[in-house]
Symmetry: C2
DNA sequence: CGAGTACTTGACCCAGATCAAGCCATGTGG
DNA sequence: CCACATGGCTTGATCTGGGTCAAGTACTCG
């Protein structure tokens, strides 16, 4: 290792990088600028992906994990009866493809919900780099652990009301756009993700609105009563109130 | 690095280690014997834990992850209404505590379902060692990825029948005891894990027996018609037909 | 052998699914 | 610029898988 060992502040670096193609959004925090350069050398941008374009498909050999730069993607799988199950939504700053490490091929497909771009992180090179850079290894482990908690949380038993309220709060947190949400996904996908019928999502949104918890018009949602929603979605809400991006963004 | 670089075969090593206290069960595969010694130096055994004894509790500071040596444990959390949700069962050779890496404290509790012992893997030392030993880093990443897939799978939408059939198949696979299962957990825990009522589990087991799919008497289950069960539990069944232990065991 | 706990079985009920119209935004071709 | 098609969304009516409640039954462990 040579050169600067100064640890880079994430927001400052993002500002400084406004001009560079690769790292404008995809940068790990807590790394030295040397390390970041090394990371930059293995990463490349893919996109823009049009709405409906696939990033990868079920069965593809596992090559890379991805960090969303902008837009939104969903991951889904098709079961034996041909029905789609939405497994997750991926917003700017979030990783996807981690579940393919173990089986070495993708167990689900990933498609853009809106025009999107991603950072491609070739896994073998990433793992090699993480071997040298302790902060990078730590970041990857923490992000995988986070996904693990979120997934376990979703797997637990809650009412439709709790799941939807929790989902909206989680979205608000993850987009960081305050109480003004622009849903990237159709009702059908929200329903599938939450294990509900489309109609139930629709009805619950109508009811939440009637109860003054939020205002909804198509994909526009304004959360009016966060505490009220928390009371409903309480245990379903995500763990970190304070904002915490992946570090790859 | 000095000394032997020979990669150790897991079964041979387990045989060879019958006598040593620490590594009898907890050994990572694909490592050199040097690396294994390094790992051994940071690991220690905890147990036996009596049935009902806690390994850790919700809120405990995150210190270590654990590999089950023998017995069985469950992880669970208590929701806002005081109800227990079983998050997972952990059999010999499996890891637990991975979900605590991100928040740095345990988000769930872990309790022994039967007399059990575990390997304690202090996380900071483990991470440090994984920094030096590529095979160890790779193993950890793969195991976390595996948990991610399993959890995502459980989170999807299936009937009670599908979930129970899948669960039984998954248990049979994980215990590696063929078609003869000895359930370590009470019905109530199976039900909670699968998001069902205890009565539903009981009724379904009765029905499966009636249909000739299995024989059940209390905690003894003998799977009679694996293909029939697979047909029911199909997409819910775990990914790896062929046996694949953690590598820590 | 008695008390407690786990399990089973039956009767009933309800949250949310399914079925069935209609509605509303966007795009498309005339 | 307007019909009108298309697909997403809403709303109502009805149905049902699995939950809940209520007894029993059978292990298990002092």
């Amino acid at each position: 290792m040579h050169g600067s060992r100064k640890v880079v502040n994430i927001t400052r670096l993002r500002q400084a990088c406004r001009t560079c193609t690769l790292m404008e959004l995809c940068l790990p925090m807590g790394l030295t600028s040397d390390d970041i350069q090394a990371l930059e050398s293995i990463v490349h941008v893919k996109g823009p992906l049009d709405r409906g374009a696939h990033l990868y498909r079920e069965g593809d050999a596992f090559q890379a994990i991805y960090a969303v730069r902008h837009g939104a993607l969903k991951t889904y799988s098709i079961d034996a009866d041909g029905r789609e199950h939405v497994l997750g939504f991926h917003l700017p700053g979030e990783l996807l493809g981690l579940d393919a490490i173990y089986p070495r091929y993708n167990r689900c497909s990933s498609v853009a919900l809106a025009s999107s771009s991603v950072c491609v992180l070739p896994f073998s090179q990433l793992a090699e780099l993480a071997q040298k850079v302790a902060g990078l290894q730590a970041t990857i482990l923490r992000l995988m652990s986070k996904d693990l908690s979120m997934s376990a949380n979703l797997a637990t038993d809650h009412t439709a009301e709790e799941r939807l309220a929790g989902f909206l709060l989680s979205l608000a947190q993850r987009t960081g756009a305050g109480t003004e949400l622009q849903l990237a996904m159709p009702r059908r996908d929200i329903a599938s993700y939450l294990r509900l019928a489309t109609e139930t999502v629709s009805r619950l949104l109508a009811r939440f609105q009637q109860e003054g918890l939020l205002e909804v018009h198509r994909k526009q949602v304004r959360l009016l009563d966060l505490d009220g929603l928390r009371e409903l979605g309480g245990s379903f809400e995500m763990m970190d109130r304070r904002r915490q991006r992946t570090g790859f963004v």
